[in-house]
């Protein structure tokens, strides 16, 4: 009898282990049970908790189970894994750069048109809205914010080089990228110091976002990256590097943040969300900075979308959240609180928004400058390989900055990398 009871014990242990294994993939760990409740995956560092709490307060009885997964890339990767065969959230935030791969596989998401997206479509800037529309017309996400562009510059360094320091004068000094290069050369000759942080993001990435077409043909949606717009952007970047205008500090690297503190460069192309990075990386430079219009006058870098995965359990609750939190009024309040730029066009003429200034940047009119840059955006098709192609071009410029490739070879080395990437 003794051995029998031992067998029972062993069997129990084995069973409970199996149960534990199965438990890993079971669905009952879902915190959202009532129909008004839902789960929400967002990024760290954007204070999503505040938005969620504000919504819960305004809508009694709704409980949102928020998970701050990680960086925007981490969140997209976690979402991919979940979509491939795991527990999906009811609502998820996706960054613009990660969006095309999801748009390419629209069956993984609820088509928001079925929930009434058509009714709210006209509220949003068409160029931004169109990025989340699949080739079959399905709407995958609603844009929460946009990375409008401006040019941050160091007033003190400009003054030392004999350049104007007033934002209006600086904006008038360099309306185009050719003017920007001209001023940069003047600055570098006079001071012996670089003019910008790096050419790949402060010039190339901005210029390719200002055209009406990028790496794909808008109509045929076929690859077309070897074109005049891209080549001009690339050559302008190469020229800047060749003339020593670039400090060769990759954005967000250790050297970049040290360079910000030490005034190693005088200008950065700045999306609205980067203002926070400058403040936190170089708090001592408060008042030294000012903000002018970006050369070429328009731009968008970053910006995110809210989407609902197909297998979500609480679709309606998630949609209610999107509708409420991304309405023109909510987006305006959100901008006034946090500075993230709305995607709703009505706000671009709102007085409160246009009056918003930032004291760190010498009282720059951030509301006005950033919204103007978004108003000039032209919609262009972003395809599944767009992000990779952009990276390949930028890598070629970094290699040039690191002297790993010559100026003549930079373009052809970028093309051969791209060919490898799009072939596979």
């Amino acid at each position: 009898m003794r051995s029998k009871s031992r067998l029972v014990a062993v069997a129990t242990v084995a069973l409970s282990i199996t149960a534990a294994l199965v438990g890993c993939s079971s669905n009952d760990s879902n915190g959202a049970s009532a129909s008004k409740d839902f789960t929400f995956w967002s990024f760290t560092g954007i204070n999503a908790k505040a938005d969620v709490q504000a919504y819960e307060k305004a809508h009694p009885g709704v409980h949102i189970k928020l998970t701050e997964v990680g960086s925007s890339t981490d969140t997209a990767q976690a979402l991919t894994t979940a979509l491939a065969g795991g527990k999906v959230p009811d609502l998820v935030l996706i960054q613009g750069a990660d969006l095309p791969k999801f748009v390419e596989n629209p069956d993984n998401f609820v088509d928001l048109n079925t929930l009434g997206a058509k009714k709210i479509k006209s509220d949003y800037a068409p160029a931004i809205w169109s990025q989340s529309v699949a080739s079959g017309g399905q709407v995958l996400g609603v844009p929460t914010d946009v990375g409008g562009m401006a040019l941050s510059y160091r007033k003190d360094l400009f003054a030392a080089a004999g350049l104007p320091t007033d934002p209006a004068a600086v904006s008038a000094l360099m309306p185009t990228w050719q003017d920007y290069l001209k001023v940069g050369k003047e600055y570098t000759e006079k001071t012996g110091k670089p003019f910008l942080d790096n050419a790949e993001t402060s010039i190339f990435y901005q210029m390719i976002g200002q055209g009406s077409q990028q790496f794909y043909n808008n109509k045929t949606r076929k690859l077309d990256y070897d074109n005049a717009t891209i080549k001009t952007a690339f050559n302008t970047s190469v020229e800047a590097v060749e003339d020593g205008l670039s400090a060769n500090l990759t954005s967000f690297s250790t050297g970049w943040s040290a360079g910000l503190q030490k005034g190693a460069f005088a200008t950065i192309a700045t999306p609205s969300w980067m203002l926070g990075s400058i403040k936190s990386n170089a708090p001592d430079t408060s008042g030294d900075w000012a903000i002018a219009k970006i050369p070429g006058s328009s731009g968008n870098w970053g910006g995110s979308y809210l989407a609902i995965p197909k297998r979500a359990a609480h679709v309606q609750a998630a949609w209610d959240y999107i509708k409420n939190s991304q309405s023109p009024t909510s987006q305006l309040n959100h901008f006034l609180d946090s500075g993230s730029l709305p995607t709703t066009v009505a706000n671009y003429t709102n007085e409160k928004l246009l009056a918003k200034t930032d004291s760190f940047f010498s009282g720059a009119q951030i509301g006005k400058i950033f919204t103007e840059s978004v108003a000039g955006l032209k919609p262009f098709y972003v395809g599944p390989d767009s992000a990779q192609i952009g990276t390949d071009f930028q890598n070629a410029i970094i290699n040039l900055e690191n002297k790993k490739v010559s100026a003549d070879q930079a373009w052809s080395s970028a093309l051969s990398s791209i060919k490898q990437d799009v072939a596979k």
Binding site: S3, K4, R6, L7, V10, A11, V13, A14, I17, T18, L21, Q77, T80, T81, L83, A84, K101, F102, E104, N105, N108, A247, N248, L249, T250, S251, F252, S253, T254, G255, A258, G259, K262, A264, Q388, T391, Q394, N395, A396, I398, N399, N402, K404, V405, Q420, D421, K424
Partner: protein, 314 residues
């Protein structure tokens, strides 16, 4: 009598005995089953399934098409794969060889009888090992920063030119190898030290009497006695070295997945990750994984052959 009857009745009948021995026979298997269950679920199944995925063009959230061995033939002609394989091998050599030699030397020093605070030194060796890899990588990236790093500052102070450490192929791999050495050298030292402490003192005394000097004692007594431990550390550091991932991912932050714009320090695991999770090419990523598996098995087999030969010669 009553006592006898009742105890007799309790005696198991022959038939019942056979019936009970079946659970007896299977109980040991049940005891070891948890390991095999866990291994099957978390070890064997992923291994086999990786091979299955490698035969597909597999988009995790899209279509999955069977392509046979296409991924493998692409792999053979993919310069980026060979670049990653070369980087992995060179980082492995740069990190393993110095690490084992330094560890052996350190162990020898720590073993010296007259060392003061011996326990303090022994324990402090483990501090790099318990430091998070991510923290290590971030600190090293700052130390070796081109413009504001401590290393370049010292270099210019003594009259040298600053080096763009993370941009160069060999220099970036050197930084990664240095990180690996820094992290693992203490652990290996302690293994060697425990080996040293098991060598009887009499052997050294006898050698001294015979007139053997320090170096002769080291090569003729210390190294042969440590042979099993040396073989163990070579095998474990090989397996670890071929799978190096976190250090190259974090040391060169942009673009992280390629460890630099020229893929100068991208290792095989990082390339696998870039393809599978950056580009959603799970099939191709799995093929890289299978190739890495084959490489590790091949190198482990060579190790095994060498070590059995070493044992034979002992």
């Amino acid at each position: 009598m009553t006592v006898t009857t009742s105890s007799l009745a309790r005696l198991p009948r022959p038939l019942g005995r056979i019936r009970e021995s079946i659970p007896e026979r299977f109980a040991p298997y049940a005891y070891v089953a948890p390991f095999f269950l866990l291994f099957a679920v978390f070890g064997l199944f992923p291994l086999a399934f990786t091979f299955v995925i490698s035969l597909f063009e597999w988009n995790p959230i899209g279509t999955k098409t069977f392509v046979g061995f296409d991924n493998f033939s692409t792999l053979l002609t993919d310069p980026r794969f060979w670049n990653a394989a070369g980087n992995t091998l060179s980082i492995w050599v740069m990190s393993t060889v110095p690490q084992l030699i330094i560890a052996l030397g350190l162990a020898h020093l720590l073993h010296a009888a007259r060392l003061r605070f011996a326990n303090f030194f022994r324990m402090s060796l483990l501090i790099p090992y318990i430091t998070s890899v991510a923290a290590t990588a971030i600190v090293f990236a700052q130390l070796f920063d081109t413009h504001y790093g401590l290393v370049n500052w010292v270099l210019t102070l003594i009259g040298g030119d600053p080096v763009n450490w993370l941009a160069g192929r060999l220099s970036s791999q050197f930084v990664i190898a240095l990180m690996v050495i820094w992290r693992w050298v203490g652990y290996t030292t302690l293994l060697y030290l425990s080996g040293l402490q098991s060598i009887p003192r009499e052997m050294y005394e006898a050698a001294s009497v015979d007139g053997a000097g320090g170096w002769r004692q080291f090569t003729s007594i210390t190294v042969p006695s440590l042979r099993p431990i040396i073989i163990f550390t070579v095998i474990t550091s090989t397996i670890g070295g071929l799978q190096i991932f976190t250090e190259p991912l974090l040391v060169n932050p942009t673009p992280a997945l390629t460890c630099g714009a020229a893929r100068q320090c991208q290792t095989l695991t990082l390339y696998l990750y870039e393809q599978a999770f950056g580009d959603y090419k799970f099939g191709y990523g799995a093929a890289i994984g299978v190739a890495l598996f084959v490489m590790v098995v091949a190198i482990a087999a060579i190790n095994f052959a060498l070590s059995t030969r070493l044992k034979g010669s002992h």
